[in-house]
């Protein structure tokens, strides 16, 4: 069976080759040895060393949980799509972490946390090779990554934790573009997202850039991770177009049902579990009252959102749709990600309640707008990333736990617009920059390598078309569900 791709296959090697050459030359030009960690901690007394050890242990363990979320994404996405595309979706979610790891190591970290200007870092860009005496903090810190010098853990612990966040942002994109994007296109975009786009947005908020100066807060990344992933996904979805047979000429939409709800359930719970590393871990310190508080706000928001989404779907659509239940949980988790340390437990309940209602309406709205999102990634991550960032400005209370102290009081806590203003600014700036950079990247890929698979391949399934493999090679009941493709 011939594989009809829109552009020659060898085109794919060009961007990858250029990336490899760029990495090689930059690393040889700029590599300097950084201080060994033994030298960095030798001045500490026993209590201080113990604190560093505990903080590091906590941060890394939390990071391992976030890494595990990649499995959650893989299971949710492949379960919500058709069996004929399973291998392809699993492969995208699997490999994206590898792309993120290398891209963030090579350049992403430096752009995000290196000392620099309002938009990106300019020191210590390549391979974390600049001087840095972490775990020294505050006044004692000497190095190129001042923005994150508040964390009293070794540099590689900080890097690892931030890396898994970058990986999460990249894997969000794979859901919205599923079932019709070329594997290579996604790989190339992931490198660009992790090396350039995500770090720029991150630098503005966590790297001491423009939005940090204005006082915008985002504790664990509703904007930095989820909205960024969401905008990148939206840009990709718009350029790709909807799946074949999704929308009819008269404007109505067709259901393209999930093939494996077991997988969706498994993935949803893994993501919920992993979020207990995502949010509490962002203290990057074993700060007992804070991590306990954050774990609870995280869970309460998730639970409230699960229920509100279920009830909303039940009332609006007739029956409690399981995919909406899971989308509800994830929406609550995304929404609480920014405010988790800054809001009280009752506030987190309200935030979650609203998130669950929002996500159901958002899914319906995107279909109304003919923006095809097979897994609800835009509704969960983009819409609720924005909601979570806003909610911080509404309910922030610097008294709830030690980690909350940087916050100004939220609008609904008697604080006026002191915190809400920066949040609003941040939402717009990140939207503008992320969406435009992502669109540029997707355009570049579409123009050189190609973006979408051929019609024949999309009908036959990307497993065969992209990988020459089938996820379920045996006889099974998967093909009777309608294809909605009216002309043969």
């Amino acid at each position: 069976m011939s594989h009809l791709h829109s552009k020659p296959r060898y085109f794919g090697f060009l961007p990858l080759l250029s990336l490899c050459l760029a990495l090689f030359f930059s690393s040889t030009l700029q590599a300097q040895p950084s201080e060994s960690s033994a030298a960095a901690t030798s001045y500490l007394d026993q209590t201080q060393a113990l604190k560093v050890a505990l903080d590091t242990l906590w941060t890394l363990l939390a990071g391992f949980l976030v890494f595990f979320m990649n499995l959650g994404f893989a299971m949710v996405e492949s379960g919500l799509c058709r069996a004929k595309n399973t291998v392809n979706i699993l492969a995208k979610n699997f490999i994206v972490f590898a792309c993120a790891s290398l891209a963030f190591l090579a350049l992403g970290w430096g752009l995000m946390f290196g000392n620099g200007n309002a938009f990106f870092g300019t020191e210590g860009l390549w391979f974390l090779s600049a001087p840095d005496n972490s775990p020294a903090t505050g006044e004692d810190y000497r190095g190129a990554y001042s923005a994150i010098s508040w964390a009293g853990i070794p540099l590689w612990a900080k890097f690892f934790f931030q890396l898994v966040f970058c990986g999460t942002a990249a894997t969000i994109v794979s859901g919205a573009v599923a079932e019709r994007i070329r594997f290579g296109s996604f790989l190339i975009f992931s490198f660009i997202l992790c090396a350039l786009i995500y770090p720029m947005a991150g630098h503005m908020i966590w790297g001491g850039g423009l939005l940090a100066k204005f006082g915008m807060l985002d504790f664990a990344g509703s904007t930095v991770v989820h909205s960024v992933g969401g905008w990148a996904a939206l840009a990709g979805t718009l350029l790709l177009g909807p799946r074949l047979g999704k929308y009819n000429p008269d404007g109505s939409a067709n259901a393209i049902p999930a093939h494996n709800m077991t997988s969706v359930c498994l993935g949803g719970l893994i993501l919920w579990f992993g979020w207990f590393g995502f949010n509490p871990g962002s203290t990057m310190a074993a700060d007992a009252p804070s991590i306990a508080h954050i774990a609870v706000t995280t869970n309460i928001a998730a639970s409230a959102a699960t229920l509100s989404a279920t009830i909303t779907a039940w009332l609006l659509l007739g029956k409690p749709d399981f995919s909406m239940i899971v989308n509800g949980t994830l929406a609550g988790l995304v929404a609480i990600t920014a405010p988790c340390a800054f809001v009280s437990v009752p506030s987190s309940l309200i935030i979650g309640l609203i998130a669950g209602i929002l996500v159901v309406f958002s899914v319906l709205l995107f279909d109304r707008l003919h923006i095809d999102d097979p897994v609800g990634a835009l509704s969960v991550h983009l819409v609720n990333g924005i909601w979570g960032t806003l909610a911080l400005g509404l309910w922030a209370d610097p008294q709830v736990c030690p980690a909350a102290s940087p916050a100004k009081k939220g609008l609904l806590c008697g604080g006026g617009f002191e915190q809400l203003g920066p949040q609003l600014l941040g939402i717009f700036v990140v939207a503008l920059i992320t969406f435009s950079l992502s669109s540029a990247a997707w355009f570049l890929i579409k123009w050189t390598y190609g973006l979408r698979v051929t019609r024949e391949e999309e009908i036959e399934g990307l497993d065969l078309g992209e990988h020459d493999q089938a996820a379920y090679p045996d006889f099974q009941r998967t093909y009777i569900k309608s294809y909605h493709i009216r002309e043969a």
Binding site: Q469, A470, Y479, H484, A488
Partner: protein
């Protein structure tokens, strides 16, 4: 009365259902099958080895029709399923001896 058996590509099902509805044909049965004819199948790859998967997924539709509906139905199937490429499928027509509706006991033409 006749039984039409058609082996078609899976993605032609929707178009076929629409055309049957237009004709007023009340129902059909669809079975997932795998088969091959001139369309030999495809090759998959797994860890360095090639697999010749001789069978291609198809759908087998069975429709029981009155004699006067036979030609329109066959034409509807052809127009829904034809793509012009190898693998479009085949239609077989068998004579039907008896048809009974289980719920009411109606037979033959009143059961169709």
């Amino acid at each position: 009365m006749h039984m039409i058996e058609a082996i078609i590509r899976p993605h032609a099902l929707d178009e076929l259902k629409a055309r049957l509805a237009q004709l007023g044909i009340p129902g059909c049965t669809a079975i997932e099958v795998k088969g091959f004819g001139k369309q030999k199948g495809h090759t998959e790859r797994y860890r360095g080895q090639r697999m010749d998967v001789g069978f291609v997924p198809k759908v087998l539709i069975k429709i029981a029709v009155r004699t006067e509906d036979l030609d329109p139905t066959v034409n509807a199937i052809i127009s829904a399923a034809r793509t012009g490429k190898v693998g479009d499928g085949k239609i077989f027509v068998y004579p039907l001896q008896r048809v009974i509706r289980i719920r009411t006991g109606e037979t033959d033409h009143t059961a169709l």
